[in-house]
Assembly symmetry: D2
Homo-oligomer: 362 residues x 4
C-alpha cells in the first residue's frame, strides 16, 4: 500500500506535519556502500528552503537534516549499509497561533474540507499533513536517490509564471540556476519580478509550469504495463502539492500533430559501431513505458497558491457561511520552489526503476 510510502525497490515512507515535532522519512532499499552524508542531503534541502527571498515564504526554517540510521563510518567517510535510512527535519519556526483563526474555517482551494470529511478530524495548523512542508522529505529522499544513479543529471526551470512564458529561443538552463525566479530567460527576469511583486502586494498569487530535463538516462528503464516509466513519473509529480497536470515530450501539443511529424526517426551514427541516433525527441525519452536513452523532458503545472489575503467566501465546520483572508507566510507562487521538489521525485522514480530493471534483467 502506498498511503505514505513511495516507490518499490527504492522506497521512502514519509511522516510529519507542518506544526508538530518535524517531518521525516525512512528510505528503504538503497544499495550498500554508497557514500552518503548529511551534507549531501543538506545541499538539496537548501535549494528548497523557505525564507531566501521576497518571492518565497518568509517562514524561517533552517531545514537541517539529521540522519538517524543506516550509515556506517569507514575511513572518515560515511556509507550506506543497506539498512533503512531514517531522516529527520525538525520544525523550528512554526507559529501555530497564526492558525487559530482557521481552526473552524475551511480555506477555499485547500484540502481542509476534504480532510475533515474523510477523517472526521483535522490538524488545522498550517495544513497539518497536507502542508507543503512535507515536500522537504521528498527532497531528502531524492538526495539519496541521486546517489544510486550518479550519471543521471536532472534540472528544472520555470517555463511559465502566471501569464508570463519564457522564450524557447533564449532558453538557458544555467540562468535558471542564477535568478530568484528560476527563469531560464534572462531577458524576462525583471518583467517576471515586477509581475510577481504586483501579485504579492495585491495579496494574490499565480500558478506556474515547470519543465524538467533529465540527461544520462540509460536505455531500458520502465516496467510495462502498469509500471511504465512515464506512468510512474506522472504519479510522482501529480502527488506533489498543488500540481494539476503532467505531460511528457510533446505532451498536450501532440494532439495536433500528424503521425509523421511526431515520429522520432532513427539513423545509425556515422563512423561508429552499433549506435542508434534519434533525429528528434517528440516522445520525451520514453516509448512504450521504457526509456529510450534520449533526454527525458517533462512538464508539470502548479495551481496558484490557495492561501491568499484576498477575501474569499467559505463555510465553517459548524455549517455557517463565512469569509476568510489567509494571513500566514505563503509563497506567492509555489512554482519557484517546486522545481527542486519535482527533480527529487524524478530522481526517486529513476533510482527505483534502475533497481527494478537490475533485479529483473541483471
Amino acid at each position: 500500500m502506498s498511503h505514505n510510502s513511495f516507490g518499490r525497490l527504492f522506497r521512502f515512507t514519509s511522516w510529519g506535519e507542518s506544526h508538530g515535532a518535524g517531518v521525516g522519512c525512512v528510505v528503504d532499499g538503497a544499495p550498500p556502500r554508497l557514500s552518503l552524508s548529511e551534507a549531501d542531503v543538506q545541499h538539496w534541502l537548501d535549494k528548497r528552503r523557505p525564507g531566501q527571498s521576497r518571492f518565497v515564504s518568509p517562514r524561517r526554517e533552517s531545514d537541517r537534516v539529521k540522519i538517524l540510521s543506516g550509515l556506517m563510518e569507514e575511513g572518515g567517510e560515511t556509507f550506506t549499509t543497506g539498512a533503512p535510512i531514517s531522516m529527520l527535519i525538525e520544525n523550528e519556526d512554526a507559529r501555530s497561533e497564526d492558525y487559530d483563526a482557521l481552526r473552524d474555517v475551511f480555506r477555499p482551494g485547500h484540502s481542509d474540507y476534504a480532510y475533515q470529511r474523510k477523517y472526521g478530524i483535522r490538524d488545522h495548523r498550517g495544513g497539518g499533513r497536507s502542508s507543503a512542508r512535507e515536500t522537504a522529505v521528498r527532497v531528502a529522499a531524492g538526495a539519496v536517490a541521486r546517489k544510486i544513479v550518479p550519471e543521471i543529471r536532472i534540472r528544472s526551470a520555470v517555463l511559465q509564471l502566471g501569464e508570463k512564458r519564457a522564450s524557447r529561443e533564449r532558453w538557458d538552463w544555467e540562468e535558471a540556476e542564477r535568478n530568484l525566479l528560476r527563469c531560464p530567460d534572462v531577458e524576462s527576469v525583471k518583467d517576471w519580478e515586477a509581475y510577481l511583486d504586483g501579485l504579492r502586494e495585491a495579496g494574490s498569487s499565480c500558478g506556474a509550469v515547470i519543465e524538467i530535463e533529465v540527461s544520462g538516462v540509460p536505455v531500458g528503464l520502465g516496467a510495462p504495463i502498469y509500471g511504465k516509466l512515464d506512468a510512474d513519473l506522472a504519479a510522482a509529480l501529480m502527488s506533489v502539492n498543488a500540481v494539476k497536470g503532467v505531460e511528457i515530450g510533446e505532451g498536450f501539443g501532440s494532439a495536433a500533430l500528424r503521425g509523421e511529424e511526431n515520429a522520432d526517426e532513427m539513423r545509425m551514427k556515422k563512423g561508429k559501431g552499433g549506435e542508434v541516433v534519434f533525429l528528434s525527441n517528440h516522445s520525451g525519452g520514453v516509448m512504450g513505458g521504457i526509456s529510450t536513452g534520449q533526454d527525458l523532458v517533462l512538464r508539470f503545472v502548479v495551481k496558484p497558491t490557495s492561501s491568499i489575503r484576498v477575501v474569499g467566501r467559505t463555510v465553517t465546520s459548524g455549517g455557517e457561511d463565512a469569509e476568510v483572508s489567509v494571513r500566514g507566510r505563503h509563497d506567492p507562487c509555489v512554482g519557484i520552489r517546486a522545481g527542486v521538489v519535482g527533480e527529487a521525485m524524478v530522481a526517486c522514480v529513476l533510482a527505483d526503476h534502475f533497481l527494478r530493471h537490475r533485479g529483473q534483467i541483471g
Copy 2:
C-alpha cells in the same frame, strides 16, 4: 510490484500479446455477492471493439470475453464469490504474416527499439505486449470495477481531434455517444469526419485530447500523500498506450490564473441541513489528493498513431539504416477508442480507493 498488476485492494493482473493465444486478466479483491455476468463485461468491450467503422482499425475481433473463475450461480444469476475473477479474450483475426517485414525493423515512434534494448528479445508481431490490444483487458477489469461503485457515472468525449477542437458552448455528452468520432459537438462532426478521412487517405494519423467527467463520487476517496486520488488517476491514464499527458480540473490552464480566480469558494446550501455547495470546480473534484464530492474532470492526450503508411527513416536490428511504411490495420486516431479505455482505468482507480477508504475508515 506493479509490472503487470494495477491497483491495491481492487487489483487486476493482465497478460497477453497481440498475436498469441489471446489477452486476459485476473481481477483480485472484488467484494463477494456482486451480480456479474459475461454480458456485463461484454457491454463495455463492445464499445472498444475494432472493426466498427472506417475510422478505426478494420481488424475483425469479436472480443468475446470468457469468465473462467470467481463466479457462483444462485437462482439463475451469477455472483462474485470474493475469489479472483479470471477473464480471457481470445485472439481471432491476428495476421502475423503482416508483420514479417517488421521482424528486424524498429518502427519510428514505437516501442520496438526500447523493448529490444531492455529485454534483448522482442515479439515483433503486432507490437507483442505493447499492442493496444492489451487495453481490452483494462476495459474488462473496469467493468467489474463499475459494479463496486454503481452510483458513480463515468463518461468521456473527444475534446480535440488533431487540429479540431469541440466547442464548449455546444458540448453535449449524449451526442458524444451517438457519433462515430465521439465528438460532443454535433455541428463539428461532419468537419471532423472529412478531416480524418483526409488523414486516413494520406496514410497519416493525428492525436486527440479526451475529456472524462465523473459524477456521483463520494467525498473522501484518496490516500494522501503518495496514494492521492489524482496521482493514481494520472498514473492510470498515463499507463494507457500513446498517452503523453494528463490534467485535472483547470490543469495546465491554472498556471495563468490568480489565486482568487482558481479558488473554489463554498457556501451552505439554502434551506438544507449541513450541505456544502462549491461555487465552482476549478480543482476538478480533488483537493489535497482527496475527492471533494464534486464531479471529477480529467483530460488526457494521445499522440498520433505511430503505425502509418507515410514512409519514415529508421534502423534495423542489424544496425542498418532503413525506410519503413507500416501497412497493418491501424486506427488513424486512437483517441476515438481511447475514451472507453480511460473510463475503465478511472473506474478501477475509484473502486480501489473506495475499498481502501472503507478499509481504513470503515
Copy 3:
C-alpha cells in the same frame, strides 16, 4: 496486496476453483531469455498429479498445462520475453454432482464454514477456491522459478507419515524418489504402505511431516527485517493447504539446546583462498534472515485429510445439527503429494529473493 498474488519481483497470481473451467496463474517478473516450454512445466506437474497410485486421490486429471503468453520462439526453442506468463490447467474429471450432498453442510475440519461466514457465498463443489487443486498452479509457477536459479537443487521426502517416522540412519534421498510414499527409508516402505492401507480402508486419514533440503543456495539471499528469507519461506509453506507448522534447521528442537550446542562454528577451508566452512548446520542455512550458503533444511507438517468417510458431527447452513461422511475421491494422506508443492513454493521464494538481492546489491 497479496490476496491471490505471491512474491515481489518474481510474482505469480493464481485463480480458479476445483470445479470450474480450470485453474491457472500469471507469472510476472521472470527475466527474459530463459528457455521455457510447456514440457518444462509439465515435468513438475506430473509429479503432483492425482490418480497415480492407490495412495492418492483417484480423480483422473491429466493436468496438462497450456502457456498462453510471455514466450517467443527463436530457432526452434521458446524463450521468456520478460512479459507475463499466463498458464492454464483445465479441469477435466470434476464430478460436481458428488458434492450436491454438501451444498448445505459444513464439513468438519474444512474451510466451508469460514468461507461462508467471511464471504456470505460459497462454492461448495470440491471446496471451490480452497481446493488443493489450487496447488497445481504453485507447481507450475515453481517450474518457472527453478529456471531463474538453475544452480539450486530442491528435494523433499516424507519424514513422518502418521505415527511412522523415517530413520535418519537409513535416510536416502534417491529412495524417496522411487517409492510411492516418498519415504526416504527403504526398510520402512512396506510398513508405511500397510499402515496407510489400513487407514484408507477404515475411511480415515493421517497427517505427515515433509522435509525439504535445498543445496546450491548462494550466500546473501534474504531482505531483513520483514523480508527475511526464513520468514518468507515460512509464509510460503504455511499458505499451502493443510499445513499447520513450519520449522527451519533445528526448529522446535533448538529450544532444548545450549548456545554452544546450537552454534554453527566456522573455520577457514584448508589450502583454499578465502573460503569459510561451517562445522555444523543447526541454523538450517539462514542467519539473521539471510542465507549463509549452507543447505537450507526445512520441515513442514500437514494435518490429516479432513475429507473422510468416518462419520462426523456438524451443522448445516440452515442451522441444523447434522452428520456427514465425505465420499469424494480424496488422498488418505496429502503429505505424499505435498512435497512437490512445498518444493515449488521454496523455488518461488528463492527466485524472488535472487531477483530482489540483484536489484538492491547488483
Copy 4:
C-alpha cells in the same frame, strides 16, 4: 516491497540500529480518531524492557517512546488523525566499545557473516540492524494495532524453557504474568530459575517455546490464498530474531493424528439462535486461512542465545581462524522477553487483516 515494512493496510516501517541514535518506526494506515498516547505505547514497551531481572540483559534502557506525528489533541486527549505515526526510541546505554573486539570477528550463530557477505559492509556494534533491539519497534507498532481491534485479547507464556516443559494440567495464564520467567506453571518456577541460573553462570544459554493464545477474534479474518491468516502469522513470528519454527493448533503433533481425531466437529448451541459451537480446537482457530471465531493458538520456538561466554571457533573478516567469547550484556534465554514481541506481531497481523477484511467485504 517489505524489506523494512510490515503489513498491508496497517503497515509499519522500522529503522535503526543497536548503537546509533535509536530505533523507530512509522505506522501507516491506522484509522483516525483512535485514542492514543505515548503512555499507551509505553505500557507495552515496559514489558519488553531489558534490565528488569537477572534473567534478562542488564543493559539499562529506559526505552521511552516519543510520538512525533500523526496525533491531534482534542479535549485533553490525543487521537490519531489517519496520518502516519512516527515513533522514536532513543538509544541510551549503548557501549560501543564493548564491541571493538568483534569488529573483525564473525560470532558463531550470529548473522555477522551473512550481513558481511550480503552487503559488503557491516555495523558490528551490537549486531547493528540485526540486533534484538529492533524488536522494541515491533512492540510499539503492536500497541497501535491493539487499539484497532480492542475486543481481541492476546496473551503469551513460556511453554518450554530449555529442557524444562510447563505442565498443561497446572497451566495458569495469570501466573505467567506474575513470575520473572513467564512460566505458566507455578510449581515449576523455582526449578526453572535454578536451571537458568546454572546456564547463566556457565556463560551459556538455552532456547524456549512460547505459546500465544488470542481470544475475541471475529470470524472471517484472512485473505486466501496467499494472504491466509496463518501464513501471515507464521511470517510475522518467523521474522522475529532467533525464531526457528512456528505452528498453529495441533501443529507438528497433527501428523500423528487420524482425520476423525483432528476434525473440529460442530453443533448448534442449545437454546440460542444461529450460533455454531466447535467441539474442539485442533485447528488453532484458522481453517482455509480464515479465522473461525475460535481462539487462535500459536507456538513459536527461539533458539538459544548465540552471544555466550563459552568459547567458540570462528573466523575473522580477514580470513583467519579465531576463537571468540562474547562478553556483552545478553539474555541467557531470549524466550522470556520474546512473548511480548510475539504478541505485538500477532496484533499487527490481526489489525491488518481486520482492515483488509473491512475493505473487501464492508
